[in-house]
Symmetry: C2
Subunit: 350 residues, 2 copies
C-alpha cells in the first residue's frame, strides 16, 4: 500500500482543485486498496491556435492505488467518469470495458480521464486535439505521475491519444487508438461543417435547441452503418396528403433532446471543429501502438487507419473488426473490444 | 415526312397548352424533319396520397418527326429541356447524352421530357413517384402517342421510370434506369429527412435561403464519392483563434446560392420527400429493363439495384460502372454512360 503524500501533496496545494476531491479514507485511517478521486483545477495552457488561456480541467482518477496508470478517453460526448466506483456509483460511459474484472481493470490499474476542454461551453475558441493532449499532461503533472502505462482512446479520444503519443512520448508506454486517425477524412469534415452550420443557423435565430438536435441527428447517421439503418428503419412511412413521416424520425426525435440536455451549442461547435483540426504526422509517433479499425465505420475509413499504421515509427498492429455499429463499435461491441484491449495491454497479437 | 394533324390536333384543342407551343414550321410550309415543341397543360390527376388535384404539366418534345419516342428524365433538379435544339438553343441538362449524334440521338428519335410535378413550388402536398409516372402518361395521351420505344431515367428519373414500367407496361418497350431503385435506402432517407428539417428550420425563422443552401450542401455530399472529396478538399484549413475554415466551405458557398436561385423551399421539400416515398414491387415490372449501378454511389447502394434486378419479372441486365463521381456519374461520366445507353437501346450486352 503506497497511497502516499507523493500523490496527495500536489492536490493539497492546489487551491482550485480542493472543492470536490474526496479521499476514500480519512487521514488517520489505513489507506484503501482502491481510490476514486475527482479534481478540477485551473491552469494557464498555451493553446495551439488561440494563445495562452486560463482553462479549467476536470478529471477523475480511480482504481488500484499506486498501480500502473491507464489514461482512458472517449468521443466528444464522453467525460471523466469512465466507470462506476464505490464512491462515484453512477454508470460510467465505458462500463463494458472499464471497471473491476473488465479489460481496463480497476483492480489492477489506475484509470485517469478528463472532461474535454470545451465540454462546459466556457472555452469558445479553436481547440486543437493537441491542446487536449497537453491538458492531460498537465493533469499528470498535478498528480505527480511521470508516466502512463497506456493511453486507451476511442473516436476523438483516439485522435487525442495520437497527439499525446507524438507530443509526450516519454510519458507513455503504449497507445491503443480505436476508430480514430491522424486526420479527419475530408468527406466527414464536410458533414461536420454542415452540422456546425445547422447549429449556427439556430443560434442566429433563437431556435438553438432544435438546431442542435438536428445537428446531432446528422452526426449520428455517420456513427452507425448503412446496414444497421436498413435493419432498423426500413418500415413504410406514414403518409397523408400533407406530410410523410419516416421510420427514422422517431429515433431522431428521441436522441436530439437527450443530447441538447447535455451539450451547449458552443461546446458542440468547438468540439466538432476540434475533430476536424486533427493533424498528426504518423512518423512522430514513436511508442508501441495498437490501432483498431472497424470495416463498416462511415466516418473514419479503414484506409486512413491503414495509412496511419504504415507511417508510425514504432511497433504498430492494426486490429480490424466487423460491426453493424460502425463507428460506434467501441460502445456497442463489448466482446470484440474486450478481446482487442486485453491483447493490446498484454502486448500480444489479438 | 409524317408530321401530321394526328400529332398537332390534341394540342390545338387544349386551350391551356397553347401559350408556349411553337411549331418549327408554319402551317403552310413543308413540315420540318425535326421538331421542337413545348407545351403546358392543366389536367386533373388522381394523386396517390393527396387525392385528385388540378396540376400543370410542362413538357418538351424534340427530335426526328414521327420517330420512335424516348422519354428522358433526370434528377429532381432536372427539367424538360434535356438537350439544345435549333429552336430552344440553351444547353440541356443532359447534353452529353441527348442531341444529334449522341446516344439519345434526336436525329433518330423523338425525345419527350417533363418538368417534375412540384418543381414550380405550386403543388404543396405529398407527391409520389407514381404520380410523376401518371403525369408522363397523361402527356402521352395529350400528344396522342400510344407507346414509347424506351424510357431512360437517372436518379429520381430512374425511380419514376420503374413506376412508369409497373403502371403503364403497354406503353413502354424498354426501361433504362440509371442509379435509381425500387426503394430509397433507409440511411439515405435519414439524410434527406435531415435536409428537409433544415429547410423547415429556415422557413420557420425567416432564413429560408440560407437553410435551403445548407440542405443542398448536405445532399451534394452524398452525390459524389468519398474518394472525390478526399482528392478535392484535403487541404489544411485556415485557422485562427476564433474560427476555422475548411477546404470544402468554398464549394458549399458556391453551390448553395446557385441552387437557391432555381428552387423554392416548397419544391425542394416536396421532391426530396417524393424520393423517399418510392415503393415499387420489382415483380410488377414486366418490360425489358437495363439497370445501371455505380459502385461508388453513396445514396443508391449497388445492393439495392442488385435486389431490384433479381426481382424484375422480365429480361433484365445490370451494367455496373466505376466512377469517382458516385451518384453523379450519369452527369459526369459521358463516355461510360454513352456506351451503356447505346448497348441498351440496341438490346445488346454492354
Amino acid at each position: 500500500m503506497t497511497f502516499t503524500a507523493a500523490h496527495a501533496a500536489p492536490l493539497a496545494f492546489d487551491a482550485s482543485s480542493q472543492a470536490d476531491i474526496d479521499f476514500a479514507g480519512g487521514r488517520g485511517e489505513p489507506p484503501p486498496a482502491t481510490v476514486a478521486l475527482r479534481g478540477t483545477h485551473e491552469i494557464v495552457l498555451a493553446l495551439r491556435h488561440a494563445g495562452s488561456r486560463r482553462v479549467r480541467i476536470a478529471w477523475e482518477l480511480q482504481g488500484a492505488v499506486d498501480a500502473p496508470l491507464l489514461i482512458v478517453q472517449g468521443g466528444i460526448s464522453a467525460h471523466r467518469h469512465a466507470a462506476a466506483s464505490a464512491r462515484f456509483a453512477e454508470p460510467g460511459w465505458w462500463a463494458g470495458q472499464c471497471g473491476e474484472t473488465r479489460a481496463l481493470d480497476t483492480a489492477r490499474y489506475r484509470v485517469l480521464a478528463i472532461d474535454w476542454l470545451g465540454a462546459d461551453g466556457a472555452l469558445d475558441c479553436c481547440i486543437d486535439p493537441a491542446d487536449q493532449a497537453d491538458a492531460i499532461a498537465a493533469v499528470l503533472d498535478t498528480l505527480a505521475i511521470a508516466r502512463a502505462h497506456a493511453y486507451i482512446g476511442a473516436s476523438y479520444g483516439a485522435m487525442v491519444g495520437l497527439q499525446f503519443a507524438a507530443r509526450h512520448p516519454a510519458r507513455l508506454g503504449r497507445l491503443i487508438a480505436i476508430s480514430g486517425a491522424h486526420r479527419s477524412h475530408p468527406q466527414t469534415t464536410a458533414l461536420r461543417v454542415i452540422q456546425r452550420r445547422i447549429v449556427a443557423l439556430g443560434r442566429s435565430e433563437g431556435t438553438a435547441r432544435e438546431a442542435l438536435a438536428l445537428a446531432r441527428a446528422l452526426a449520428v447517421v455517420g456513427y452507425r452503418s448503412a446496414e444497421e439503418f436498413d435493419a432498423r428503419f426500413a418500415a413504410l412511412p406514414a403518409v397523408d396528403a400533407d406530410s410523410a413521416r419516416f421510420g427514422v424520425e422517431d429515433y431522431f426525435d428521441a436522441i436530439g433532446p437527450r443530447f441538447v440536455a447535455r451539450f451547449s451549442p458552443v461546446a458542440y461547435t468547438r468540439l466538432s471543429e476540434s475533430i476536424d483540426l486533427q493533424q498528426v504526422d504518423p512518423a512522430s509517433i514513436t511508442v508501441p501502438t495498437d490501432l483498431v479499425a472497424v470495416t463498416q465505420d462511415q466516418i473514419v475509413p479503414c484506409s486512413d487507419i491503414d495509412a496511419l499504421a504504415l507511417g508510425i515509427a514504432a511497433a504498430c498492429r492494426v486490429h480490424r473488426i466487423d460491426s453493424l455499429y460502425g463507428h460506434d463499435a467501441f460502445l456497442k461491441e463489448p466482446v470484440q473490444i474486450d478481446r482487442v484491449l486485453r491483447a493490446a495491454l498484454r502486448g500480444d497479437a489479438a
